[in-house]
């Protein structure tokens, strides 16, 4: 049983009974879109320009949200250990999908679009980050901060996410 619903943002989502990972977006530390891929039907396709705008806008909002972070009452600057940087937006939820954001220590952001009730998103994110660290960062033909075009990464990513989606 599938139903089609539109919301004001213009995303149309086919909700199914199965839990699925819809799409992955990777944003480099300057806010540029370096990777975008859909894994399952469910999200409307945007034009490549819109994806670029989405990446840039999210990057900006994320940066501002880190500055909203309130200081803890007993948060005294310590000389021995540096506190973790404020995380900024981690989850953004709509009725029909959930956007999970994971920022690496170097400022690369992974945005995962899933169904709202998708379990184990952290694990899926960790798996994707692991694949990225292996098959993108260890590839001598990849130049940093540039769009990701690595066949080995693509192949393994699709295989792993497909396994998650068919679970």
């Amino acid at each position: 049983m599938e139903q089609l619903c539109d919301n004001s943002l213009g995303w149309s989502v086919v909700s199914q009974n199965k839990m699925v990972v819809y799409a992955l977006i990777i944003i480099n530390k300057a806010g540029g879109l370096v990777y975008q891929r859909d894994f399952a039907e469910g999200l409307n396709k945007l034009s490549i320009n819109d994806y670029l705008v989405l990446a840039g806008t999210f990057h900006g909002i994320h940066a501002i949200s880190t500055r909203l972070n309130p200081l803890l009452p007993n948060d005294t600057p310590s000389t021995t250990s540096r506190p973790l940087p404020p995380s900024g937006i981690e989850v953004l939820e709509t009725e029909n999908f959930r956007l999970q954001c994971f920022q690496t220590l170097t400022g690369t952001k992974f945005l995962l679009f899933t169904e709202p009730q998708q379990p184990n998103i952290e694990n899926i994110m960790g798996m994707i980050y692991g694949l990225y660290a292996d098959y993108v960062m260890k590839n001598p033909f990849y130049s940093l901060e540039m769009p990701v075009r690595c066949e080995g990464w693509e192949r393994r990513l699709v295989r792993e996410v497909r396994a998650v989606n068919s679970r």
């Binding site: 292996d134 260890k138 001598p140 033909f141 080995g152």
Partner: protein, 224 residues
């Protein structure tokens, strides 16, 4: 910035002086250098694949500088591997049990040594296949296949360079081994994966070993 520089520069030159006074061979404080270690301690020595991947990635990037083309790049990778093959031949023969410590005298013996002993030492598994060319015109050609070369594990070659196979480095090692054993050869690495979706071994690589004519001639003479 400008005011801090005069303060910084004497310190910089001082540390440079210190460094230059320490130049030359460095010895560990206990006096044991790498030459003092036993050559046979090998069983459990494994290295991190990630650190190797980073090192090899940098080797490829280094070889990529100032090259004129893909063949030139493969030649450079091949040259980087060659001395390793030469030395590994000696080392691995030394580690063999005393009975079989002799240098291989036939092509087949040599190639079997390469596909089993050398491959096991480098990649901790034997090569996947060893074939002789079936073409009667090229009796000097042999093929070693590896379904998933360890050096290529994390490497995706961009489309515009699809003739490149970074396992040229391994080909260099094999070539060094053949040369050292007295079987001069040219070894090249070729990708044979078709790039189709759902392929079992997309990174399959064939090392084409092309012995020089005199090797084949000698082999025919010895064979009788």
């Amino acid at each position: 910035m400008a005011s801090s520089q005069p303060i910084k520069s004497p310190m910089g030159s001082q540390s440079q002086n210190q460094r230059s006074s320490q130049q030359g061979l460095k010895y560990p404080s206990n006096g044991k250098t790498i030459y003092h270690r036993p050559l046979n301690r090998s069983r459990t020595q494994e290295l991190s694949q990630a650190s190797f991947a980073y090192l090899f990635g940098e080797m490829v990037s280094y070889a990529q500088k100032r090259v004129t083309g893909i063949q030139d790049l493969e030649k450079r990778l091949n040259n980087q591997g060659h001395p390793i093959g030469l030395k590994l031949l000696d080392l691995l023969l030394y580690r063999e049990p005393a009975r079989s410590q002799t240098r291989p005298l036939h092509i087949i013996a040599l190639l079997q040594f390469i596909t089993t002993t050398l491959w096991r030492h480098l990649f901790s598994r034997p090569a996947d296949a060893l074939e002789k060319s079936s073409n009667p015109d090229t009796p000097e050609e042999y093929m070693i296949s590896d379904n998933e070369p360890l050096v290529n594990q994390y490497i995706s070659v961009p489309k515009e360079m699809n003739q490149l196979n970074c396992a040229a480095y391994v080909a260099g090692i094999v070539e060094g081994c053949c040369d050292g054993a007295g079987f001069p050869a040219k070894v090249t690495a070729h990708s044979v994966g078709k790039g189709e979706e759902g392929e079992l071994w997309p990174g399959k690589t064939v090392f084409l070993v092309k012995f020089q004519d005199e090797v084949v001639e000698r082999e025919a003479f010895l064979g009788r």
